[in-house]
């Protein structure tokens, strides 16, 4: 039977706010920032040296030490989150037609914890010191590869590299793949491990990190975002298939919009027109208007231009109703996970819909004049949530918007 609707049936999250649905969502509702100074290596000389950190990642029981030593941290986190998501979905890949199981993951930077050590050995000692896994550990599609190999996934597979918008695109294209009949079920999401000396340097040199170590989107004092590490995985499958097997359905991926600003190689178009187009496309596809959105999750990148652009887009699409919509930027609590950030927002949205509770932390206490809607209102609101709009914007003017709907 041809599927016409794509739904989310399983969630897996490894994040600075915790691992697993309960721990993760519980910490979001507390509304307390968990960003802290990086001590994993000496970051004292970096202008921006705070992050959301995953300590004590326990994957030893799930995967052999022989495998783990061949991987960068971002592959390891993707494997752990995938295992959790498949268990949450009640899905055994061995019982599936593996040619019809797909995987689409997002990532921005690649596996630098592994790679930079090997490059150091190359220059200090020589070629023979470089690990034979250097190439397969670093490249951004490594998590897709490792998850595919571990579970025997042989279907439609991609890695999306689009800065902060990567995993948003990944999950949205997973929905498209299911509805297009290219796969029955897709492991979708993103992973990022940017807490290494070189990766932190790259992020610092982008100029987009907060040197104050504070993540305050739409706040007049904002000076960028704070990075975080982690992975978010969602199991996407057809609605009829999910219903037939009695799966728990968190949400339908009801609308998706994707545009480019075409304005600047690095900065967004401050007018917000591109993002507004993406938002309108997502609303239109979902059969919604802005007033139907119960919970708004902006991209909230925290930069001077990014937030101005997004604020203009939101004002353009929502109009006066922007001040009435419930909003939250939970990533301001635990960090922007770059290529995984969209996936984590979708995990948050699914849990919010399931539980009728929304994390409303925004990190914004002194809003810009046109951002009163973003002013923080504490940790959580209890409310029936039927539709969630989630934005994700990446460098160079990539704009994505997803509308999730409760089934």
């Amino acid at each position: 039977m041809r599927e016409t609707r794509a739904v989310i049936t399983g969630l897996g999250v490894v994040s600075p706010a915790g691992r697993g649905n309960e721990e993760y969502f519980g910490n979001l509702l507390k509304g307390k920032s968990i960003l802290r100074e990086i001590t994993r290596f000496d970051a004292s000389r970096y202008p921006a040296r705070h992050a959301g950190l995953v300590d004590n990642l326990d994957s030893g029981g799930l995967f052999s030490k022989r495998l783990i030593k061949k991987l960068d941290r971002f592959s390891e986190m993707a494997l752990v989150a995938t295992d959790d998501a498949l268990k949450d979905a009640g899905l055994d890949i061995d019982a599936e037609d593996k040619d019809r199981v797909g995987i689409i993951l997002g990532n921005a930077l690649g596996g630098w914890s592994f790679a930079e050590v090997e490059l150091r050995d190359l220059y200090q000692t020589g070629v023979r010191e470089v690990s034979p896994y250097q190439a397969t550990a670093w490249f951004p599609a490594a998590p897709q590869g490792q998850v595919s190999i571990h579970y025997g996934i042989k279907g439609f597979a991609k890695t999306i590299i689009s800065d902060i918008a990567s995993s948003h695109l990944a999950v949205s294209y997973a929905a498209r793949a299911v509805v297009a009949g290219k796969a029955d079920v897709v492991v979708a999401g993103g992973t990022e491990a940017p807490i290494s000396p070189y990766a932190l340097l790259c992020c610092n040199s982008s100029g987009e990190l907060s040197t104050a170590g504070k993540y305050r989107p739409f706040d007049r004092r904002r000076d960028g975002y704070v990075i975080g590490e982690g992975a978010g995985i969602l199991i996407v499958e057809g609605y009829e298939r999910a219903k037939a097997r009695g799966a728990k359905i968190y949400a339908e991926i009801k609308g998706f919009g994707h545009t480019s600003d075409g304005a600047d190689p690095v900065n967004p178009d401050v007018s917000g027109d591109g993002l507004a187009r993406a938002m309108r496309a997502a609303l239109s596809e979902s059969g919604s208007t802005a007033r139907d959105i119960d919970y708004l999750m902006p991209s909230g990148n925290g930069g001077r231009l990014y937030d101005a652009s997004e604020s203009n887009a939101l004002t353009g699409v929502f109009g006066d109703s922007l001040n009435d919509v419930m909003a939250g930027v939970p990533k301001a609590l635990y960090g922007n996970l770059l290529g995984a950030s969209g996936a984590l927002d979708m995990v948050t949205a699914c849990l919010a819909m399931e539980r009728g509770q929304a994390p409303t932390y925004t990190g914004c206490n002194e809003p810009e004049d046109n951002c009163r809607w973003a002013e923080g209102s504490g940790g959580k609101v209890n409310k029936e949530i039927g539709r969630v709009m989630i934005n994700s914007t990446g460098r160079g003017g990539v704009n994505t918007c997803v509308v999730l709907a409760k089934p």
């Binding site: 030490k65 022989r66 495998l67 023979r128 034979p132 896994y133 397969t136």
Partner: protein, 77 residues
């Protein structure tokens, strides 16, 4: 430490094999699943352990642990 113990230590500590897998007649490729990439790691680790360069073709996927031990026993003597 004997040559056999040193070879086993490289395979366990360096490569991550389980001690229970290290049977003398275990073939590196067919029994231990060591593919071409991991074989590079094995050879470099053994060269470091024994302080010598292993000529191409001497050690490969079809080698067994016993053959590795025999090679180093002969070569070091």
């Amino acid at each position: 430490m004997s040559i056999e113990e040193r070879v086993n230590r490289v395979l366990v500590d360096g490569i991550g094999l389980e001690p229970a897998e290290l049977k003398q007649d275990a073939c590196l490729k067919d029994d231990l699943g060591i593919d071409s990439t991991e074989m590079v790691e094995v050879i470099v680790a053994l060269e470091k352990e024994f302080g010598l360069k292993i000529p191409d073709g001497v050690v490969g996927g079809t080698s067994t642990i016993k053959e590795l031990v025999n090679y180093f026993t002969r070569t070091i003597q």
